[in-house]
């Protein structure tokens, strides 16, 4: 068996255009040149060097192929030292085993020659290392675009394949959720109470924000206009109230409990104003109702109201009353009531004496 026969096996060589061929061929050429230098050559012509490099590459390829086939013959996929020895014997073309000595590793002439060769070169310290450092090749192009295309292997993903018959270098299996329905995960435990508390807290936050916005708007109105509008009076009092409240109440509580009252105060006052302008007596009566709980007055007061419209002063007084401190307002309201009652009685008397006179 000769090298020549093997090269005509019909194997396809590397096309010169492929990048790996160029790089490896150049590296092999420099290695062969170094070996020739140790033998004794100083200069080389390119054609013989190229052909010698080709021979060396073919030698390695043939060795590998033969060793692999010997391993496969014995039912193994990974090669042995004995496979290599057999391949060497095969390649050398010596008919050592023709005498039938039996195959043993060291009976191989080739191997002995190699051992001698190593000893000679080791002893002679003619060891010439490859002068250039080769990078680890082939360099994978996965980093750029192919990363998205290629499926990572089991080793890369870090999973162990299901079943010992599957090697690690094969692409990993797809995740089970891609091909079958898997149950949804409940990542956090149910906490209804906590959720409710959280909800309430968020609502309070929103309310606070809304109220503060209202307050700001109202403040702007009051500071902006100089006219004495109904709203102004109330706001002034409300402001004072708020200030009082704020001064009284400590900082911490201000936000939560009292703030609602404060914040709603302008709205409440505004509502009260509207009511007052129309049914001031009724409102007072209602307030009185809450305090004294008397029901007899509504009829009389309604009458009073209609009549009151003609009276300028008492109406003004009531308006002025609004402008004052709310803390005093209750007493003053009582006074107003008394005054009204007195006026009513006077009127009645004025009418009555007429009647009486008539009588």
């Amino acid at each position: 068996m000769s090298l020549l026969e093997r090269t005509h096996d019909g194997e396809t060589k590397d096309p010169p255009s492929s990048s790996s061929y160029e790089f490896t061929h150049a590296a092999a050429k420099s290695a062969v040149a170094q070996i020739c230098e140790t033998v004794g050559y100083n200069h080389f012509k390119d054609p013989p060097l190229e052909s010698l490099t080709g021979f060396a590459i073919q030698y390695i390829l043939q060795l590998g192929k033969l060793a692999a086939s010997f391993a496969n013959l014995n039912g193994r996929s990974q090669c042995n030292v004995f496979d290599i020895v057999l391949a060497l014997e095969d390649l050398s073309g010596n008919d050592n085993n023709a005498e039938g000595r039996g195959c043993s590793a060291l009976r191989s002439v080739k191997l002995r020659e190699i051992i001698d060769f190593v000893k000679v070169s080791d002893d002679g310290e003619e060891e010439s290392l490859f002068l250039q450092t080769l990078p680890r090749f082939p360099v994978s192009d996965k980093g750029k675009k192919m990363m998205m295309m290629t499926v990572p292997s089991f080793v890369e993903v870090g999973e162990s394949p299901p079943g010992k018959h599957i090697p690690l270098w094969l692409p990993a299996f797809p995740d089970p959720h891609t091909y079958k329905e898997t149950p949804m995960w409940i990542e956090r435990g149910l906490d209804p109470r906590g959720d409710k508390i959280e909800q309430a807290r968020q609502r309070r936050k929103a309310e606070r924000a809304l109220l503060s916005l209202q307050r700001k708007l109202v403040c702007r109105i009051s500071s902006g206009d100089g006219d004495r509008v109904w709203g102004d009076m109330d706001v002034g009092t409300v402001k004072e109230v708020i200030r009082e409240a704020e001064s009284e109440v400590p900082e911490d509580e201000k936000r939560d409990g009292v703030s609602v009252v404060e914040a709603f105060a302008p709205a409440l006052e505004a509502a009260r104003d509207v009511v007052f302008s129309e049914d001031d007596a009724e409102w007072k009566q209602k307030k009185k109702k809450k305090k004294k709980k008397k029901k007899k007055k509504p009829v009389a007061l309604s009458k009073l109201r209609t009549e009151k419209k003609f009276l300028g002063e008492p109406l003004d007084l009531t308006l002025q009353m609004k402008g004052e401190d709310r803390s005093m307002s209750l007493r003053e309201e009582d006074r107003d009531d008394k005054r009204r009652r007195a006026e009513f009685i006077l009127r009645q008397c004025m009418e009555n004496p007429v009647d009486l006179n008539q009588l």
Binding site: V32, I35, V39, I60, L63, G64, A68, C79, V118
Partner: protein
């Protein structure tokens, strides 16, 4: 029995020598780098994680190349030196690897074959420089 025992002992010796040799391989770094050899072996289907086997292949290849080169060198030295014009000039010092020497070395019949088959060349490679080209380059 004796033969069997002897063969058994020989086997043990062989194994010991082999393991020793493989151990010595790690000390000696072949000229051909391991990566290159591994690349070509992988191409041909040789699969082995052991570095020593790769080094064995590298050493074998190195020996092969060294043998061929030394044969060619002998041919180069054996060639008669060119005419020396200057007397002080010594014999041919420029050892250049040429195609002729290489083809002779590759076709050489080694002495070990014992003339068994004169036409069987040791390397089995017929390398010859083409005398003329049929097509223009």
């Amino acid at each position: 029995m004796n033969h069997g025992q002897q063969s058994g002992e020989a086997k043990h010796e062989d194994d010991a020598v082999l393991t020793e040799f493989l151990g010595s391989l790690m000390d000696y770094t072949p000229t051909i780098p391991d990566d290159l050899v591994e690349h070509y072996l992988a191409k041909s289907g040789f699969q082995c994680p052991d570095v020593r086997l790769i080094r064995l292949v590298a050493v074998a290849t190195q020996k092969f190349v060294a043998d061929v080169a030394s044969d060619a060198l002998q041919h180069c030295k054996a060639r008669p030196a060119p005419v020396v014009k200057d007397k002080k000039q010594q014999k041919d010092k420029r050892l250049i690897l040429t195609m002729e020497d290489l083809s002779k070395a590759l076709r050489e019949v080694s002495a070990s074959s014992g003339g068994f088959d004169p036409h069987l060349s040791i390397y089995g490679v017929n390398v010859k420089h083409p005398e003329y080209f049929a097509d223009s380059p």
